[in-house]
Symmetry: C2
Subunit: 224 residues, 2 copies
């Protein structure tokens, strides 16, 4: 898991437990492509604000979207510093001691300033990409955004230049003197798993549940 | 879902889609008790930083813990403004139009300043509570923290006075003119689900997998 790439900036360098830090573009992309929700932080007059948002990835840019009425989106559009964090929880680490309990996870932290996507065609492409990030394969089935809808949507593009991955994997790491305790130790894996699709009550006709919904999977999700 | 309680402060009031905002203590607690990871935001010299952390809830306080070497924890201990967000993803909302795609979710946002838990007995109790938040029932089986471990751990208590819940539930809401499209619409439910526990490779003797790991469940998780 050693990363051949150095941290791209001082604030991006993982300081606590630096051996868990990685800066390879492929690793950043893999976590972003598997994740669903980003926690977007910025500074307002009231201090820091952290809001969950859907997102997408277009090459080396993270795309965020929201209403033109959203304070957070408007702040981002003005070029305020953002910190966007995406976290995947992979398991709970049960050690013999309370102190060594932990979590297996992968998280990406991106620092930077975003640019609004002003061109309507680019914005349309961004919304396509966002739908496809949430439900891969869904794009061609839906009505594309109207011009009115596009104009009501702010899309921000945040470069992934200043990004890092931090992860923990593997079993608990206990103190030598705790190993003889009779306590069970190990990992409880966790995954985000889909249930049976619930048709909309106003569904007309006999539209079948598409495969991308019936067998929904996140890209990169571990096989069942 | 109408909330009888008003927003406790201006910055806590849900502004976008205020009908999705709730301020009842019980609803805040339910989301925090089901969640595993908090995204903690604060402002550093480099701008906003958002970091995922494990947490626990003790009555009307959120407990965070980390190393005394953690910049984030040290900043929190100094009384910097924090914003802590916990998000549960309940489902993907597949509308007939790209524009109305959405997510069913519940998220809590807490604003405030934290106080370090300095008393070692209180800190011990806080770590017990953190272990029990991650794996309910685990506490009695593990070695409690030593004084050295307690001294290496910073615990912050953040009052839940300024907190809100925002949630979306239910089916997609489409434009009337899109209802006749042949596109399937509905919700793909999502849940965080445990896999079979993986014993630590250095497990000695024949410790059985405890029920809290073999049948791990988050409190409040929907029945399978």
């Amino acid at each position: 898991m050693d990363s051949p790439s150095p941290a791209p900036s001082a604030r991006t360098a993982v300081r606590r437990q630096p051996d868990r830090g990685h800066y390879d573009r492929e690793q950043v992309h893999a976590v972003l492509d598997e994740g669903l929700v980003a926690h977007v932080g910025l500074v307002t007059d009231h201090g820091p604000v952290v809001i969950p948002m859907l997102y997408g990835r277009a090459g080396s840019r993270l795309l965020l979207h929201g209403s033109t009425a959203s304070r957070l989106m408007r702040g981002g559009a003005k070029g305020l510093d953002l910190c966007v964090t995406v976290t995947l929880v992979d398991g709970l680490v049960l050690a013999r001691s309370a102190f060594h309990h932990s979590m297996n996870y992968r998280s990406v932290v991106v620092f930077g300033r975003a640019t609004p996507v002003t061109d309507l065609d680019e914005r349309r492409a961004a919304l396509d990409l966002l739908v496809d990030h949430i439900v891969p394969g869904r794009g061609p089935d839906v009505r594309p955004p109207s011009e009115k809808e596009l104009r009501a949507t702010l899309v921000l593009a945040l470069p992934l230049d200043e990004s890092s991955v931090k992860m923990r994997t593997g079993p608990p790491i206990d103190e030598e003197e705790d190993l003889d305790r009779p306590t069970w130790a190990g990992v409880v894996p966790l995954a985000t798993v889909p249930g049976a699709p619930l048709p909309a009550p106003d569904l007309r006709g006999d539209a079948e549940v598409p495969a991308y919904a019936a067998r929904y999977r996140r890209p990169g999700l571990r096989p069942e």
